[in-house]
């Protein structure tokens, strides 16, 4: 479910807010920063898609995190606290921790990108880019509607092959499906091209666009606020990265304001959702 609160603003506002979180999540290779961003992403996911859905994602996220954590010592035998010696590999605590942070970073980046996709749908993307590249956005829009059609047809072709015993066990079945779908789609594209021409495709060089959202003052205020949040968080991350070291010994936590500024950004999307929820509960 897309959180309705974000629809109140021009899509550029949530794009800056959550896009900023995505970029910082990619850069922040530091245990506290990564943890803050991971928790923020998990919370947002749980609030928007339900706790169950968020937990079910952990089913593949945790093993991924663990895997990266365990693989890292194989590649970098750095550090000062020897934990174990496995065959020729020396496993240091620092190296394990680095791997764990990397794994957490990857998971949090993926989750923030998912959050971005949730808030900025196809429509919002069009609103933001449509003016600059109408043909490209049209191509995207066309693809987005053709993929489900192709999948539906693939299911129909496969079903009709499975339903005929005589067609079973034919080696070329898979290429047959692809071939059938391709011919079908090509044939359709002729009619689609006609339908485009009939509606004046190519009539002018300058296509206009139907923009369903105007950029208002309120959006500008929100945009400045979001940009400030992102900038402050970026400064915090930069400070944290400059003081922190993994090797040879993990040390150098940043001053607390750095973590605070990042937390503000990381929890802002969840905050918006919660506030909206509370406002609704007050409605008679």
């Amino acid at each position: 479910m897309r959180p309705a609160a974000f629809e109140l603003y021009h899509p550029i506002v949530p794009a800056v807010l959550i896009g900023g979180a995505v970029v910082l999540a990619m850069l922040a290779i530091e245990p506290v920063c990564t943890a803050i961003l991971l928790v923020g992403a998990l919370l947002f996911s749980a609030l928007t898609q339900g706790v169950g859905a968020a937990l079910s994602k952990l089913r593949w996220q945790l093993p991924l995190l663990l895997l990266i954590c365990l693989i890292n010592p194989v590649f970098s035998a750095l550090g000062s606290t020897l934990v174990a010696k496995v065959g020729p590999f020396l496993v240091y605590a620092e190296s394990l921790a680095y791997g764990a942070v990397m794994g957490a970073l990857l998971v949090s980046v993926l989750m923030w990108i998912e959050a971005l996709g949730l808030v900025i749908g196809q429509d919002e993307l069009l609103v933001m880019t449509g003016g600059a590249l109408p043909s490209v956005t049209l191509a995207f829009s066309m693809t987005a509607q053709l993929v489900p059609q192709l999948m539906r047809r693939a299911r129909m072709v496969i079903a009709s092959l499975r339903a005929v015993p005589r067609a079973h066990g034919e080696r070329a079945a898979r290429t047959r499906v692809m071939g059938a779908l391709a011919t079908w789609a090509l044939e359709d594209s002729l009619e689609r091209a006609d339908s485009m021409r009939a509606r004046g495709w190519g009539a002018t060089h300058k296509r206009s666009r139907f923009r369903s959202r105007t950029f208002r003052e309120r959006d500008a205020v929100a945009l400045v606020l979001c940009a400030t949040l992102v900038a402050a968080a970026a400064l915090g991350v930069q400070t944290a990265l400059s003081t922190w070291r993994f090797y040879p010994r993990m040390e150098g936590f940043a001053p607390s304001w750095a973590y605070l500024s990042l937390s503000l950004l990381s929890f802002a999307p969840s905050f918006v959702v919660v506030v909206e929820h509370l406002l609704w509960r007050r409605e008679p």
């Binding site: 429509d123 829009s141 499975r162 005929v164 015993p165 009619e191 004046g200």
Partner: protein, 479 residues
């Protein structure tokens, strides 16, 4: 000035057209031969004629952007202006064209973007665009799904969207090529009712090409028939008559009540995924060997799903499906194209010939289809009716004992439909069990022993066809 005669919306005079000989397969007879007709502004005109009579060709020649290439002479004037002298932009905003397939003419992935597509192409000012789209949506009542994705819409809704996206450009003339042939009867009525309002309330001239004009006659003001490349004005009363049914049906007597079961479903529950609703909710079905059973029910009542389960393509989440004829079954999907994958008609028929039978069944099938001379043509170059019959023939060559058909008469003209009925009769005579999902009451009357009515995922009623029609309130009274 007021004495000036009003130019008709469409004035065709002496229009002759033939496709390049190579495309027509060497046949250089003109598709249209000196066609002349006039459609006054504000008319609702029907353009009738069988498959291949040139309806589509004529309709496309009225709209230069989609006109076929070929040899042509004569003139086409729209509202007093030469059609070929119109610019693309003028033509787009003067003449709207709606195509047959609900799937193929949608371009964008959201309803609002599809509605805006034509206006964007013309570079229409944003405020003007919003006004037109708002009014179009209001007029057609499509506000509830304005923000939906186009792939989420039903076939009827997609066709309505195609109409709306043309209408947003405020055309004075609407051309529609078999616009309802892919829709179920209910969606067809909704679509025609809208078309009627557009014609009467907005004064838009409408021309509909169709091989089945009966449902449109109440709305029409004039009708033309195309035959052998010539056009003639026909009376609406005559066009509205249901076509006389072909030779008396020769359906064999229904098998005895205690005949062996050829297919049975027992308390079957099914849904496509965990988050979906149940499609079938405790559905029972028992079909006797040699029986021709029709499955009726509204859109989304689960008819196609039931066929998939009967074919063993999907498995029930609960309940039992017993399929004693699983090794000798065949399924004709809703679109025959799902079965057609070869380069020529002949290869298509040869693909599933039982081993050791040689070429003989293929020759018989070609003969029966009347395609012996067209054996090297690509299946996609055949008419929709011929594609459907080809797909059916391809299945029958495998000698199925259980034939599952999903809307086999949808979109077919009278001739192809009669052929499908004929083939079902022959199959039944040969002892084949047939289960048909269909909306076509005429087909049920002529080709089936019994009917099962599906509603809300359950069987409401199963009875013999005569009894069903006698009891039914909506199907019994006519058609």
């Amino acid at each position: 000035m007021s004495e000036m005669t009003v130019a008709p919306a469409v004035e065709v005079s002496g229009l002759t057209f033939s496709y390049p000989a190579a495309l027509a397969g060497g046949d250089d007879a003109p598709v249209l031969d000196g066609v002349s007709l006039q459609v006054p502004e504000g008319a609702f005109a029907l353009l009738g004629g069988g498959t291949g009579s040139g309806k589509t060709t004529l309709l496309r020649l009225l709209k230069p952007e989609v006109s076929p290439a070929g040899e042509r002479s004569g003139s086409v004037r729209l509202f007093g202006r030469d059609a070929n002298a119109l610019s693309t932009a003028e033509s787009a905003s003067l003449v709207g064209y709606v195509f047959q397939s609900p799937d193929n003419q949608i371009v964008c992935d959201t309803v609002w973007h599809e509605l805006a597509f034509g206006l964007e192409n013309l570079g229409t000012d944003e405020r003007e665009m919003r006004l037109r789209i708002a009014e179009t949506c209001q007029f057609l009542g499509i506000e509830p799904w304005f923000r939906k994705h186009t792939h989420e819409l039903s076939g009827g809704q997609r066709q309505m969207l195609a109409l709306a996206s043309v209408l947003a450009m405020r055309p004075r003339l609407l051309l529609l090529d078999e616009p309802t042939s892919q829709l179920d009867p209910l969606a067809e009525k909704d679509f025609l009712a809208l078309l009627f309002r557009i014609n009467r309330e907005l004064g838009v001239t409408v021309i509909v090409a169709t091989h089945r004009p009966e449902p449109m006659v109440p709305y029409a003001t004039c009708a033309f028939m195309l035959q052998d490349g010539r056009v003639s004005e026909a009376s609406l009363a005559k066009v509205g008559e249901s076509p006389a049914s072909a030779a008396a049906p020769t359906l064999p007597v229904a098998p005895a009540l205690d005949a062996k079961r050829a297919l049975s479903l027992d308390d079957v529950w099914f849904r496509y995924s965990r988050n979906d609703d149940w499609v079938l909710r405790g559905c029972d079905l028992a079909v006797r060997a040699g029986e021709v059973r029709a499955l009726m029910g509204g859109n989304g009542s689960g008819k196609s799903t039931l066929l998939m389960l009967a074919a063993g393509v999907d498995r029930p989440r609960r309940g039992r499906v017993s399929r004693p004829l699983a090794q000798a079954q065949a399924l004709l999907p809703q679109s025959p194209r799902a079965l057609l994958a070869c380069e020529t008609v002949e290869e298509e028929l040869s693909e599933w010939v039982p081993k050791g039978k040689g070429q003989a069944p293929v020759e018989t099938a070609l003969e029966r289809l009347g395609l012996a001379d067209a054996r090297l043509r690509h299946p996609y170059d055949l008419s929709i009716g011929q594609q459907q019959l080809l797909a059916l023939e391809k299945l029958l060559i495998t000698h199925p004992q259980l034939l599952l058909l999903d809307e086999p008469t949808k979109g077919l003209d009278a001739k192809a439909r009669a052929s499908v009925i004929q083939r079902v009769h022959e199959a039944a005579l040969g002892g084949v069990t047939v289960v048909v999902a269909t909306h076509d009451v005429g087909f049920v009357r002529e080709a089936c022993h019994s009917v099962s009515l599906l509603f809300d995922g359950q069987m409401v009623l199963t009875s013999a066809v005569d009894e069903f029609l006698a009891r039914s309130w909506i199907y019994g009274s006519g058609r």
